[in-house]
C-alpha cells in the first residue's frame, strides 16, 4: 500500500439521546416529535467508524478520510462544529431527512451515487466504513446495500479492530457470541466495514483541526444537493419507543456478594 487508503465513512445525525423521542405522524410521513428542533449528534455507531478511520489514516501515509452524510443540512452544520474538531476529514453532504423512518434502499441509492462521484475514486484503495448499527431506527442494512451497489463483496459487520499486515492484507476482528471475535484476513481494498464500538476513545476537540477542516466543510454544506429520500411507500401502522425500565433502590453498605447475587436473580427472572 503505497498511496494510502481512500476511507469513506457513511454516517449521519441522530437526536441527542437525552431527548424524549416520541414518534408522531406528520403530513410528510412518520417522524419524531419536534425532531427539527432537537439537538443532534453524529450517530454514535458512525462516530466509532469515523474515529477508527482517522486512526487508520494516521497510520498509513497518503490516506484520506471522507465523511459522506445524508441529513438535514442545518443539523449537519451544527454537528460538524464539534465533529470536525476531532479528526481530519473531508465532508460530502446530502441534504435530506435522517429521522430513522427513511427507507434504507432509497438512502443507499443516494449514498452509493455520492461515493461513486467522489473525485479520483480508486476502488483499489477504497474502504467503506460505517456503523454496524444506528442510534436512529436504522434497519442495520444501509451500509451493506451501499456496498452491494458499489459491487464491494468483502463485507464485515460488528468490526472492532482492523490491522494492516505486511503486504497490505487487512486483518479484521468481527464480534461473535460470548465476547469473542472472528478473525478474518482480506487481501486488501475494496472492503466494507460496519463498525461496532471499536476500541478508541472519542478524540478531544482540537480547534486547529477544526479550522483546517472547516475550509472544506462549510463549502461542502453550502453546495449540498437535495436528497429527498422517503419511506418507499411503506405505511407505518404502529411505532413505539422501546420502554425503558428503571428500578432503583438506594441501599447503603451492601456487600459486593449481595449485589452480585441480586443481579444474578434479576437476570434469571426471564
Amino acid at each position: 500500500m503505497t498511496a494510502g487508503y481512500q476511507i469513506v465513512v457513511l454516517g449521519s445525525v441522530v437526536p441527542d439521546p437525552l431527548q424524549t423521542l416520541e414518534p408522531v405522524a406528520t403530513p410528510q410521513g412518520p417522524a419524531l416529535k419536534n425532531e427539527a428542533m432537537l439537538p443532534a449528534v453524529l450517530d454514535p455507531w458512525a462516530a466509532h467508524a469515523l474515529f477508527e478511520a482517522a486512526n487508520l489514516a494516521a497510520k498509513v501515509p497518503g490516506s484520506k478520510v471522507t465523511l459522506v452524510s445524508l441529513g438535514p443540512k442545518a443539523k449537519l452544520q451544527q454537528v460538524m462544529m464539534a465533529v470536525a474538531q476531532k479528526v481530519p476529514l473531508e465532508l460530502v453532504a446530502l441534504d435530506g431527512p435522517a429521522g430513522g423512518f427513511t427507507d434504507a434502499h432509497e438512502v443507499a441509492v443516494r449514498l452509493a451515487a455520492a461515493v461513486k462521484a467522489l473525485p479520483g475514486l480508486d476502488r483499489g484503495r477504497l474502504l467503506l466504513f460505517g456503523g454496524w448499527e444506528s442510534a436512529s431506527r436504522g434497519a442495520g442494512v444501509t451500509l451493506q446495500l451501499v456496498g452491494e451497489r458499489l459491487e464491494i463483496h468483502d463485507q464485515f459487520q460488528g468490526v472492532d479492530q482492523i490491522a494492516v499486515q505486511a503486504g497490505g492484507a487487512l486483518e479484521i476482528l468481527e464480534r461473535v457470541e460470548g465476547g469473542k471475535h472472528q478473525v478474518s484476513v482480506v487481501a486488501g481494498p475494496p472492503a466494507v466495514l460496519g463498525w461496532a464500538t471499536g476500541s478508541l476513545p472519542e478524540p478531544k476537540n482540537n480547534p486547529q483541526i477544526g479550522m483546517a477542516n472547516m475550509r472544506q466543510v462549510m463549502p461542502a454544506l453550502q453546495r449540498a444537493p437535495a436528497a429527498p429520500v422517503g419511506t418507499a411507500g411503506v405505511e407505518f401502522l404502529s411505532v413505539a419507543v422501546p420502554k425503558a425500565q428503571r428500578e432503583t433502590r438506594i441501599v447503603k453498605d451492601a456487600s459486593p456478594d449481595e449485589i452480585a447475587r441480586e443481579l444474578v436473580e434479576w437476570i434469571s427472572q426471564d
Binding site: 437525552l18 428542533m37 464539534a82 482540537n206
Partner: protein, 741 residues
Amino acid sequence: MASPAVNPALDALRTLPGDDVRQIMWRFADRYDVQMLVQSARQVARGPVARLVAAGGRNDHDWTPRKAELLAAYDASGITAAFMEPEEGGFISGPKNLALALAAFELAWVDAGAATGALAGFLGLSPIHEKGTPEQRRHYMSLAVPPKPGEERKTWRAAFALTEPIPYVGVDTGMLSGRIRVAEWQDGAEPVLQVEKRGRFITNMGFASFVTAAVDSGDPRIKGSCMVILEEGDPGTFDRGTPTRKLVHQLSSTTDPIFSLRVPASRIVGGYTVKDGVIVPNFDHSTIIEAVFRRTRVTVGVITAAKLLSAIEPVIRYQRNRFRGAEQAAPGSIRHDLGIQQREDALHRLVEVWATGEAAASLGLSTARLFDELDPLDRRKDALLAAQGIAGARATMKWMKLVERSALEYLDLAARPRGAADEARFRVLGADEMVRFALLDAQANVLCPATKLWDTGHGATVLREAVSLMGGYGITEDCPGFLGQKWMDSQLEATYEGPEAVQRRQLSVTMTAPLFLAQLRGWARELRHLASSHPGTGACALASAMELWLWTVTYLAGATDADGERLVQPARQGVSFKLADALAWLCASRAQILDAVALADGGAAALGDALPGTARFLADLCHVEAARAAGEVGRICAELVHGYNRHPAWDEEGRRACWSAVDAEALEGIVAGLAGCACDQVEGEHHPEKEGPCASCRGITDFARLRVKMDGCLTGAMLAKDRAAEALAHVMIPEALDYPA
C-alpha cells in the same frame, strides 16, 4: 401509530432554544470559528468541570491536582488559545470579545469558578495584549499558548495583580501601595528595578508563571505608576501566599501573594522612555487597567447570565416531577404530569427568571460584539492621532471633541428628513470611521458598566428566585444544575473587577455624555419603529420608559432639593446612582428585544415551521422584561423627581393649596363634579387624617404625563406573561441534564 398524530400548534414553543436559535440571536451564525469554540468549551464544562463539581471539588480552598487537571482540559480544547492570534498559536482572527464571552458563557453554565479560572489567564495577559510592546506581546503570547503536538514545553499561566491588602483593598484602583524603585542603573545599560507588591484576592496565583502587577513609583527616577511583568524565576521573593478562604468560585485559584523581585526595566508594560534621567513609563497603570477592564467586565456579566439561563431546565424538570411517585399523583393526572407547574405562581416566577436571563445574555453579548467592532477602530484612531502628531490627554480630548461634534451632527441628520445637501453630508459622516468610533465609544462607556452592574447585581437577586423555585433542594449540593452554588457565586461576580458602586460611579459620569444621550433618543425612536413592525415585544413600553428617563435626567440637571441644594453633583450618589440603575434596566431590555427581533427576522431558514412559536415565546419574554424595566424606571424616576421635595404640612402654606369645603360645595352646585378635582378639602381647623395636603405636580406635569403614558404602555404585559407561562408548562425538555449533578 402508538402516539396519536401530533400537529404541533404553530405558535407554541416546542423545545428549549438550541444552538441554531442562539447563533442567530447572538449573531454568530456566520462564525464557525466561534461556534467551534462554543462546542469545545461546552464539552469541557459538561465533562471534566461538571464531574469535578459533582464529586465535591468545590469543597476545598486549595488548588488541588484535580482542579489543576482543568487547565489541561482548557488547553486541549482550545479555550486557552482562543485569546491568541493565529500567528501566536491561536485560531481566531481579529477581536475576540464575543468569542471569549461565549466561552465563559459555556463554562459558567456549569460552574462560574471554572469560567473565572479559564479567563483569569486572559486577564493577566490583557495588559500585554492591549498596551504591551510588540516584543512583549510576541514573547508572552507565545509562551502562554499551549504547545503544539510534538512540542516539549510548559504552558505559561498569567495572573493579574491589582488589588492590595488594607488600607487600599477595594477602595480605589487609582491608589497603590505597591512600589517600584531603581535598583541598579549602569551607564548605557538597561535599568534594573526592584518591585515590591502585595496582592489580595489574586486569581490564578496558585499556579501562575508570571504576573502583570500594578505599582507606583517609589523613586524620583521613575515617573508615576505603571504595570510591570513579574516572572516566577526572577531574583527575589515570588511568594504565592495563602489560599483565600472563598465561599464561592472554588474552581479558580485565589491567593494573597507577596512579591519582592528584581526585574529589568523592559518588563514595564508598554515600554518606557528616559527623560532627563527619569524613567517615564509609556502607560500609567490606570490607562492600562481601563483598557483591560473595559472589556473583561462584560464577560463577568455574561457569566451570571449563563447561570440564569442554565437554571431553566432543572427547574422545569423539578416542577414537573415534583409529585411523581406519590399515591395522590397517578400517572395521567394533572398533578402527575404538571406537578408544581399546575400553579400559576410557579410558572410566572420561572418566566421572570428566564426573561432576566435572556436580557442579561443579550446585554452582555451585544456589548461584547460592540467591542469587537470598536477595537479595530480604536487602534485606527491611535494610528491616526500618531500620524497627525497629536499626543497627550489634552490634545487628544480636543481632537475628540471635534469628532464628537461630527457624530452629533450625524445623529441629528439621521433623526430628520434630509434634503439633497443634507443627504450628501449624512453619507460622508456615515462613512467616517472616526465618527463611527465616537458613536460606539460613547455606547461602550455606558454598556460595559451597565452589563457588569445589571447582569451580576440584579442577576444575583433573580438567581435567588431560581433557587427558591427548587424548594429545599435548591440549597443542597445535590440540586440539579448546582443552583445553590451558582447563586452564591454570583455575589462574587457582582464584586470583582469593580463592585457595583464602581460601575454606578462610571455610569453616572458616562450616561450624561451628549453623544450617548443623543443615541439614547435614537434608541427610543428605533424601539417605536420596532413596536410597529414587531408588536408584542414591549418595545413601545420601553421607548416610553426611555423618554421618561431622558426627561428626568434633564429635569434633575436643573433641580434642587427642599433646601436649595443642587440634585446633580458628584457627591449626590443618591441621585446619580439611581439613574444609573434605571438606565441599566433600559439597556438590558433593549438588547433583549433586538435579539428577539433578529431571530424573528432571520430564523426562518434554520427553524422552519418552529420559528413562529419560538419567536412568539421570546417576544413574550421581552414584553415581560420591558414591563419590569418600565416599572423600575418609573419608580426610580418618580422617587427622584418627587422625593427631594418636602411634603406639605397642615400649616398656613399647605392649607392655601387646599379647597375649603364651603367653596367646594358652592362650586359643585355650579358645575356638578367639579369638587372631585380637589385633592384636599379643609373645613375650618379640620383636615383629612393624613400627613399633609397631597403634593402638587406643578412644574412637572410633563413628568406626570409621561409616567401615565408609560403605565398605559404596560397594556398586554401580563397577557404576555400568561402566554409564556403556558408555553413553559408544555415545552419539551430532555429526559435528564446533560451534565452530572
